[in-house]
């Protein structure tokens, strides 16, 4: 059975899909955000769940004029709250090449004598210093995974803030960062502290190797 989904439900599925795309395609030099939902339809699959068919427009957060079209399918599994929704997507066209920015960031971090530590990104006034922008973007990309894994039809997550980030020295070629982030869940309006360990290498993409929800006052 097909129903036209309400704006609110279409919006949640779209945000989820966008986060997933961002996670798979993002880097410290490229973050993707949902610009618009062109089309949305909902299909009730008997015994399985609700499937949303979406046509989205995504934008490059560093260059708002750079957009791509994306079709996505989001399947929320009925009754099984512990299973993450299935997301499949196709991006039309090419994403901007960010090798130069990615490599520059990679080399910059690799050459640090002391491990990077920072907090409150953005700060209370929304400021992000230029050096911290790739760190901010990396969290934006990685949080796409956390949000995807923890979403239901009744949630819509956004990254509210990085409370704390600490680089973890590695002997291999990967960069590793331990983040404490705040997620904003729009339906409940809750601010949820979440810890995530993020691995990145320019050719190997972003990976969240470990993540855990924290108690409400953990980040204060």
């Amino acid at each position: 059975m097909e129903l036209p989904p309400s704006l609110s439900h279409a919006g949640r599925a779209a945000a989820l899909a966008a986060g997933c795309v961002c996670y798979r395609r993002g880097s410290p030099g490229r973050g993707l955000a949902l610009r618009a939902v062109r089309r949305a339809r909902r299909q009730d699959v008997d015994g399985v769940g609700h499937k949303y068919h979406l046509e989205l427009v995504l934008e490059d957060v560093l260059d708002k004029d750079s957009t791509v079209n994306c079709t996505a399918e989001v399947l929320y599994h009925l009754g099984k709250k512990t299973i993450a929704p299935d997301v499949e997507f196709t991006i039309e066209g090419e994403l901007k090449n960010t090798d130069e920015a990615d490599n520059a960031f990679y080399n910059q971090i690799k050459s640090l004598e002391k491990e990077l530590v920072a907090e409150n990104i953005p700060d209370s006034h929304g400021n992000v210093s230029p050096e911290m922008e790739p760190i901010h973007l990396l969290a934006w990309v990685a949080s796409g995974y956390v949000m995807w894994q923890n979403s239901t039809e009744n949630t819509k997550f956004q990254l509210a803030q990085i409370k704390h980030v600490k680089q973890v020295k590695r002997s291999d070629e990967y960069l590793e960062f331990d983040y404490m982030i705040l997620l904003h869940e729009i339906v409940s309006q809750e601010i949820i502290p979440w810890q995530m360990t993020v691995l990145w290498h320019p050719q190997r993409g972003v990976q969240v190797t470990q993540d855990s929800r924290q108690p409400k006052h953990a980040a204060e």
Binding site: S6, L7, S8, G11, A15, A33, L34, R35, A36, V61, Q108, I109, L112, E113, K114, L116, V117, A118, E119, N120, I121, P122, D123, S124, H125, G126, N127, V128, S129, P130, E131, M132, Q158, L159, A160, Q161, L182, H184, I186, V187, S188, Q189, E190, I191, K216, E220
Partner: protein, 432 residues
């Protein structure tokens, strides 16, 4: 200490003196500049110029040019961290490059600058120097309100409608050209304290209304027949808390009996579908509706005011974020009786908003567009005879969320203005 944390060094672009304070305020504020000096160096020929540039490239020295070496005879300013001072001076002296010490201790200067800035904030006494492009504290906004009244005494007055839980004054700005109990438009910002862009937009908008009376035909027409009541800091306790303790605080700061958790969601505390599943009965929740409808002084004050006034024709409650223009209902999915008219008006308003910078808003009823929400301001207003009840959710859609950069304050307020005007003009032209 001064030589650590390379990744948090501020960009070379920050060479201007007043921007020192930004160095302190920005994310890299953990770095101190104690003992650092700024040397004014004058290269006498091309060879010395080259040496200077090479000096700047020595990563381990961590020097940075505040004014780059450009040509012989022109001074270059170089900040030298304390540990590198000796090495740099020996280098300059042994190569016969003349220099003088321009700043003996950078940290001292920063401290002085910060002090001056704080003092100047306290002595800001004129509307014309109020910085609309910054976020302000409660005191600064309350001081500014008095200045607005002083500057437009025949148009603007300040009314106190009650006190918050922690006994802070709840103020309205009243815009009126006379008459007696004229039909009125109600505007509020800041009901959720973490939504800083709303207070900032409120301040800009109130100023705009005052400026445009007598200039803009629509504003003049509106104020010639109607009054505007504007509550800019609807939740002052929460707002103070976002400055002092928790930037993400949303609710009031009232103590909940039997719970260690504080605060009630003031936008779930109204008597319209109160207590339903679109709110929470858990005091620790961000959408806790409170022990009973209008339990919060901040909400009760508005209820009493609007009821007592008897002629409020529109309630516009401003929130962030999501870029939406919403109207009743939130507590039920059935369309409101005036759905079509409200929908058409919302469509027009968001279209005029988009013209300014291309910012796209979605629109519709609360329940359809964002979520089911019980006990909201606009549902109560609507169910109590206020037909034109709208909720704005301002910028952005999540990139910065509540932490919207202050550079977006004026663009946000500027684009929202035509949308607000559309609604107010419609209210004027459709009396009921």
């Amino acid at each position: 200490m001064p030589s650590g944390a390379e990744a948090s060094r501020c960009p070379l672009a920050m060479k201007i003196l007043p921007v020192f304070a930004t160095l302190v305020a920005a994310a890299c504020s953990e770095q101190l500049f104690v003992g650092d000096q700024v040397l004014r160096i004058t290269a006498s020929d091309e060879e010395q110029l080259t040496l200077l540039r090479v000096l700047g490239e020595q990563a381990e020295l961590q020097v940075d040019f505040w004014r780059h070496p450009s040509s012989p005879g022109r001074p270059a300013d170089l900040r030298v961290p304390f540990p590198s001072l000796q090495a740099v001076k020996i280098f300059l002296e042994s190569n016969g490059i003349s220099y003088s010490i321009m700043i003996v201790d950078v940290q001292e200067l920063l401290d002085e600058e910060k002090k001056t800035m704080m003092e100047s904030r306290r002595t800001e006494r004129s509307i014309s120097t109020f910085d609309f492009a910054s976020y302000h504290t409660l005191d600064e906004i309350y001081d500014w309100m008095d200045m607005l009244v002083d500057d437009h005494p025949s148009l603007v007055s300040k009314i106190q409608i009650g006190q918050s839980y922690e006994n802070r004054s709840l103020y309205l700005l009243k815009f009126s050209t006379g008459g007696s109990n004229r039909p009125a438009i109600w505007l509020d910002t800041g009901i959720h304290s973490r939504e800083w862009i709303t207070h900032a937009t409120g301040v800009w908008t109130a100023n705009k209304i005052a400026e445009e009376y007598g200039q803009d035909p629509s504003v003049t027409a509106i104020l010639d027949s109607m009054d505007i009541f504007f509550e800019i800091v609807t939740n002052p306790d929460g707002f103070a808390f976002t400055h002092s303790s928790n930037r993400m605080w949303r609710k009031t700061r009232s103590i909940n009996a039997g719970s260690r958790c504080i605060g009630v969601d003031p936008n779930r505390n109204w008597d319209a579908g109160f207590g339903g599943s679109g709110s929470s009965s858990n005091p620790c929740s961000e959408t806790y509706h409170g022990p009973y409808a209008h339990s919060e002084r901040e909400v009760k004050a508005i209820v009493d005011f609007i009821r007592g006034h008897g002629s409020v024709k529109s309630v516009i409650s401003i929130h962030s974020y999501s870029q939406m223009l919403l109207f009743p209902y939130g507590y039920k999915t059935a369309p409101a009786p005036h759905h079509q008219e409200l929908n058409e008006l919302a469509k027009k308003a968001v279209s005029d908003l988009a013209v300014v910078y291309g910012t796209k808003y979605t629109y519709g009823s609360i329940a359809d567009t964002i979520y089911v929400a019980d006990g909201t301001t606009v549902d109560w207003a609507y169910d109590n005879g206020v037909k034109y009840s709208f909720t704005f959710e301002l910028r952005d859609t999540g990139r910065y969320g509540f932490l919207l950069p202050s550079t977006q304050i004026i663009p946000t307020a500027t684009e929202t203005w035509p949308a607000l005007l559309d609604i107010m003009v419609h209210v004027l032209e459709h009396p009921y």
